[in-house]
């Protein structure tokens, strides 16, 4: 397959020993391109927003890539990158929300995400699983808000309840979902 990046050109041969750290100059870029999507999705599913997911993915790659043995197998590389992302995520949650790292470790280590194959939409399937475990009105309010992007007011309208009740319902539904998903 044609690579979207052109091969690097060495501009100053006198500096080549320092610049070409590895014998395969493009190796890490291939690793990056193969894994950036899964690492990002992994981070996104644990932050829920682009800005944090981008920051954490970036930190994970900056931390992991220089230490990576590029000749390791793809699963080993994936596992190392995910473990690094997990540790950056744990730091994020501890720093910004004062969370117990143990809780996070348990959460981010959930195996179904790490074993996901390319093309599989684990984000969607996990959300579906969370919703499926809930009573109908809880499922419905979370579906409208999170999967369909309805505002509280639109959700209230769709469910035939008041805005206040929609807020309360969302709160209870989320609490219940947390109990089911992260006991």
């Amino acid at each position: 397959m044609q690579q979207p990046w052109e091969p690097r050109v060495e501009q100053s041969p006198s500096t080549s020993p320092a610049i070409h750290v590895l014998g395969e100059p493009a190796g890490w870029e291939e690793v990056y391109r193969e894994h950036v999507g899964p690492v990002y999705r992994y981070c996104y599913a644990r932050t829920g927003n682009r800005a944090d997911a981008e920051d954490i993915s970036e930190q994970a790659f900056l931390r992991a890539l220089p230490r990576l043995r590029l000749r390791a197998s793809a699963p080993e590389i994936r596992s190392y990158l995910m473990a690094t992302a997990r540790s950056v995520l744990a730091e994020h949650w501890t720093l910004h929300y004062g969370c117990d790292v143990g809780l996070l470790d348990e959460e981010v280590a959930s195996p179904e995400v790490e074993e996901r194959r390319p093309g599989e939409d684990a984000g969607v399937s996990r959300a579906a699983r969370v919703l499926a475990a809930l009573p109908e009105h809880y499922r419905r309010v979370l579906e409208l808000r999170f999967l369909r992007g309805y505002s509280v007011r639109e959700t209230a309208g769709a469910m035939g309840i008041t805005v206040t009740n929609a807020k309360v319902l969302q709160h209870r539904a989320l609490r219940r979902a947390a109990q089911e998903e992260l006991p």
Binding site: W5, E6, P7, V9, Q11, S12, T15, A18, I19, H20, V21, P25, W28, E29, Y32, R33, V36, Y40, R41, Y44, A45, R46, T47, G48, N49, R50, A51, D52, A53, E54, S57, E58, F61, L62, L65, P66, W93, Y97, C99, D100, L104, E107, D121, G123, V124, A127, A128, V130, L131, L142, F146, L147, G149, Q170, H171, L174, A177, A178, E181, L182
Partner: protein, 229 residues
């Protein structure tokens, strides 16, 4: 309890609008709710796909970290710390440039020699940072440099040396040197700039595309230095 509920709601509202959520001290139960909310947010089809701009930008950042070289596709030599640390024939470099540059330096050129001054290149706030040997920047060959947070091009205009930011003023993509056209091209959008930083794009009204910020530049001992604020 009510405050905590508000905090969780604030988090949920932020992520539903794809904003960075507010930070607050959360108990375990709330933390679980935040995590489940995040997982649900990722369930909206396509929501958790990385932006192509982000993927490209991070790759460039990693390239700098991994081998100190960026913009190779554009043919722009990138000054790296390693390269600068290698030492240079400073006096020769100063001679090669000629007297023209001397008139525009901020500080008078000190005595020849003293190449050891290139050892400290990590930019601190409000400091001059050594980015290149003058000899490495002939007229018509702008030089891409990266010094800590500072990304730029050093340009020899013949009668003076100047530097401009290498970050597009539209979207913050790193510009590539287009050697043949003698301009700086944005890889993300049809935007390009002259070597003096002025926008040249046909697709954007000049008012919409701001010029590239000029970086304060001086020459000391045949070395180009850029000021980081």
């Amino acid at each position: 309890m009510r405050r905590r509920r508000k905090d969780v709601e604030g988090y949920v509202e932020a992520i539903l609008q794809d904003r960075r959520p507010p930070r607050f001290g959360a108990e375990d139960e709330e933390a679980r709710q935040l995590l489940v909310a995040s997982a649900l947010r990722a369930g909206r089809p396509g929501a958790d796909a990385p932006r192509p701009e982000f993927v490209e930008k991070l790759q460039r950042r990693l390239r700098r970290e991994m081998d100190g070289q960026e913009g190779a596709a554009a043919g722009a030599p990138l000054v790296t710390r390693r390269r600068l640390l290698g030492g240079a024939a400073v006096a020769a470099a100063a001679a090669a440039l000629g007297a023209g540059v001397d008139r525009v330096v901020d500080r008078s050129i000190e005595g020849s020699g003293g190449s050891s001054t290139t050892a400290e290149l990590v930019p601190a706030a409000g400091d001059w940072v050594d980015v290149a040997a003058v000899a490495d920047v002939p007229v018509g060959r702008p030089l891409r440099f990266s010094a800590g947070a500072l990304e730029g091009f050093v340009v020899n205009h013949g009668d003076r040396i100047a530097a401009v930011s290498a970050i597009c003023t539209h979207l913050p993509c790193t510009l590539n040197l287009n050697q043949s056209a003698q301009r700086l091209d944005c890889p993300c959008h049809p935007a390009w700039f002259g070597l003096d930083g002025k926008p040249m794009s046909a697709s954007y009204a000049p008012a919409a595309l701001r010029p590239l910020p000029a970086l304060r530049t001086r020459v000391v001992d045949g070395r180009v230095q850029v000021f980081t604020a």
